[in-house]
Symmetry: C2
Subunit: 558 residues, 2 copies
């Protein structure tokens, strides 16, 4: 009581000294808060794309205007070793899956409308020619499908929620889509150990809601949670918003069940925290983007859900100030810091303009940060946060800030970060880059690229300029920058200006050209900027070992 009064008093002082009407509010943390942004979190089992206005559900009619990947990447040629689908194949699959909804057949009849959503990726940048979508319901079915495809040289694309951002989840040519949405059972949960075992097709948000009822949390969260599947998350080694706190899937996933192209089932669904009995084979599947097997189930350790969750949102003068705020947060919030996200002023402006979102702070700031804490003791967390706020206000590290006072406000603040991705598509398209860089140099790249595109006459306010803006935001706590270039149209001149320039820039600073989104089609040619020839050779060995015919997700990854 005494302590918090003292803090409040000094906060008032601090706030007053930095600006006339302080927005920082005294904190009353919401219990068991889960943030939802309406647009992205209505758990859905259909693949989804943003429409031209940045909304999430696309109008099927406009799908036709999206270029085929085979046209935009003419150097990628269909491999002649793969068989073409025939009536015989369809018959086999129909008998095997024995349910109409499980086989979308565009071979023996016209099913373009039905199949289209499975052919187009979330960004509406990649479009395949699949004529067949299969939706197995059991591991056994996945095994039979793969064995048959492998024996008959039929190429396939494993597909989860189709929210991937590198074109990995849709076909390039006529690969069969194996969509996992029907494998959506939670198999078991142990509330002493917190270990969840569930089918790969369970939607992330569904899994997390289930866990919320048991006072646990899925150790991963991301803007696409209403659509992406936990199998897709593991296949892409998704990082997301809370890696900072809960660590990577390589540490949290305890077991997987997966099917290899020859149909053999890997039954490594351990529910043990520790099991040092041989090479940790499951690790190869984490982040393998459907190129060596199809994951059918995972076992994962889930932490207790924190009863106290606090979210603050700041405006800052410069990137230098954002770095200072991050260091202060690490030091003063310690073990309760669960997210530290950075957004530049342009990203927030776009949010306001495109989505009509009323921003939490008045005025424009060059940078914004979102800080989340999760802890077991409301009073302690509030005090830590107050100390932190006091410090960043007094030291004039932040210019202004708000603290969520209710669950709704928590959601509103998170929406300022989570909804950026969808809004960027507003003008027609986005060049998306997801880089790991030394924190100190992270934003330099955004400025460099903005200058470069401006100088080259590619960026401008009018229609003759393809580029609308260059925007940077990301998981600052993980040194992970999302650099986005919203464009009025996809344009080879822009692409050539960006690539490989941007990868060279990253590589010179020992960064990663794909921090969390993976390789897919878009980053495949550039892996050499982040991995040595020796490493690439080793990876190719692995691919050949498990998928000697190369039927799994061809033209991608490696």
């Amino acid at each position: 009581m005494v302590a918090s009064a003292r803090v409040a008093a000094s906060l008032r002082r601090a706030a007053l000294s930095s600006r006339p009407s302080p927005c920082i509010k005294n904190i009353r943390p919401a219990l068991q808060v889960r943030w939802k942004t309406e647009a992205t979190t209505s758990a859905s089992s259909e693949p989804l794309q943003p429409d031209a206005k940045g909304g999430v559900k696309g109008d099927p009619a406009t799908a036709k205007s999206i270029k085929f990947t085979s046209d935009s990447y003419p150097h990628i040629q269909r491999e002649s070793k793969f068989a073409k689908l025939t009536e015989k194949h369809i018959q086999y699959f129909q008998e095997l899956l024995d349910s109409e909804s499980a086989v979308l057949d565009g071979v023996t009849k016209d099913a373009t409308e039905d199949i289209e959503p499975f052919n187009i990726d979330w960004m509406r940048k990649f479009r395949g020619h699949a004529q067949l979508v299969l939706k197995p319901s059991t591991t056994e079915e996945v095994s039979r499908i793969l064995k048959y495809c492998n024996d008959n040289m039929l190429a396939v694309v494993p597909q989860g929620g189709n929210t991937g951002l590198v074109g990995g989840s849709v076909p390039v040519f006529d690969e069969i889509v194996i969509n996992m949405q029907k494998m959506n059972n939670i198999r078991s949960f142990d509330d002493v150990s917190g270990i969840l075992v569930a089918d790969a097709g369970v939607i992330l948000e569904v899994a997390d809601n289930f866990l919320a009822e048991k006072q646990h949390i899925f150790p991963l969260d991301l803007g696409a949670k209403g659509s992406c599947q936990i199998g897709g998350n593991v296949s892409t080694n998704a990082g997301g918003l809370r890696l900072l706190r809960y660590g990577s899937l390589h540490g949290n996933v305890l077991g997987i069940e997966a099917v290899l192209p020859d149909g053999s089932i890997i039954d490594d669904l351990s529910t043990l925290r520790k099991n040092n009995t041989g090479y940790d084979m499951k690790q190869l599947f984490i982040g393998s983007e459907g190129t060596i097997g199809i994951i059918t189930a995972i076992s994962i350790q889930c932490p207790r859900r924190s009863p106290a969750i606090n979210v603050a949102y700041f405006g800052l003068e410069s990137y230098e100030h954002a770095q200072k705020a991050f260091r202060a947060a690490k030091g003063q919030l310690g073990e309760i810091l669960s997210a530290f996200e950075m957004m530049d002023g342009r990203s927030q402006k776009i949010l306001k303009e495109v989505a009509g979102t009323k921003l939490p702070l008045e005025g424009d700031h060059p940078f914004y940060c979102l800080v989340e804490t999760s802890g077991s003791n409301t009073d302690h967390d509030s005090e830590k946060l107050q100390n932190f706020l006091e410090h960043v206000m007094e030291a004039e590290i932040v210019s202004d800030g708000v603290l969520a006072e209710s669950q709704t406000q928590v959601a509103e603040l998170w929406a300022c970060r989570e909804r950026i991705t969808e809004c960027l598509g507003h003008w027609g398209g986005v060049y998306k880059y997801d880089l790991s860089l030394p924190i100190a140099q992270m934003y330099e790249l955004v400025e460099d690229i903005r200058d470069r595109l401006t100088k080259q006459g590619l960026l401008g306010d009018t229609n003759e300029h393809p580029v609308v803006d260059v925007v940077g935001y990301g998981h600052m706590g993980d040194a992970n920058l999302h650099l986005n270039v919203p464009v009025r149209r996809f344009d080879k001149a822009v692409e050539k200006s960006l690539e490989p320039y941007l990868y060279e820039w990253t590589s010179k600073r020992n960064g990663s050209i794909s921090a969390e989104h993976g390789l897919g089609v878009s980053k495949k040619p550039y892996i050499g900027y982040s991995k040595s020839a020796t490493m690439i050779k080793l990876m190719k060995q692995i691919k050949n070992l498990y998928d000697p015919n190369g039927i799994l997700n061809p033209y991608k990854y490696i």
Copy 2:
């Protein structure tokens, strides 16, 4: 202030009601505490073994009394495909390493005394016939050594601190020991990201002391820290005392540098938290026990060191009570809980008898727990701990307890857990098992085995009984039991009574026959109890892929 007075008062009440003279003390946490137990933590670069009295340094003379592995496991035959060492080989290595201390040559001269420590494992249970020990200083040297050995079919054993507990770090026959102690440089540390890059041969305690100066902590700690090497830790995927808090090495290790048998250098020493550019090859090396390559360096993310560390030690009435205490700790200590260790009464009695340790609590208790918290705010942590203590005392979950009041006391309490391992060797030998089991059933196995050995007349107080006792302790937070059977002599009847019975017991409960110690020689035959035939086949493929000649650590693992 008010709060802590209230807690203190109710603690006194609680304590009084459960026993007349309470030991629970008001808490004054030590800053930056690191616990040392004299016996195990004088960082040493020599391989070490406990002597017959349970001390750690062995008397070289008694080494001769240890049976050769080739005699105790007569079914293991030297593979004739391996060449025998000749003068020519020695000459090559001498020219290559160009330093007398780097080549212990027992081929062209008698060097038995010098080589003996490298031939015998920490438990004094395994003993090899190596005639040559090589100590490379650079990755390049490791590469040349391995290439030469591979070309000449010379078998090798990679060796770190030689503290492994499954006989993996010493030769079975005449394999060359490649000891990593000369590769002991810290290559870099970044105090913003907390990422450490260091040679494989750096001793864990040295790394941790280095990090302590930078206010960081190595995310792994274990009783052998004064001797084991970080490369050995990664090679065994060591779990240790703080996995509960900081997670497994699969999540924390960011990169490795390793050498394959053909001499190629894997340069995957990334210092990025996120890097989704291809299969995560390094993961295969984590826990591979020197069977596919030699790790020469690692990059690892290290958390900030907590300024507040508290340790409590409890006596409890039953295993049921220990489980209740664990649940209470998880709930009330939340994010600051950094260790929860369980020790049975027998393990503590042995400590008292063998090491002469004065136990922290008066009287005997059937079970003991050690609870550690680490957090960023001393007052908050104390309050959480007081609440927890109050709860476990009032609810009569614990019978008695002490709380460390100084750095020395913290060390003393930890010694009650960490020194058990060394004391168990006192009578002559120990059968050691390291199992993952469902928490609820963990201690049942100890009781079952004790009954079984007693009924079979193998356990007793007098010399005609080989078995002294059956002892259980372990990392309760990770559902990891160390079941130990101290014996007066290694005896086939005891081994037969224990194995495969104990593995079957574990397998029936979907446990792991090796939670953290690995496979080595001792667990190799039993892998089938924890892994399916499919998994074993996949692992063999990996072994063949990287080490087609099988020169790396033969007769072990898989």
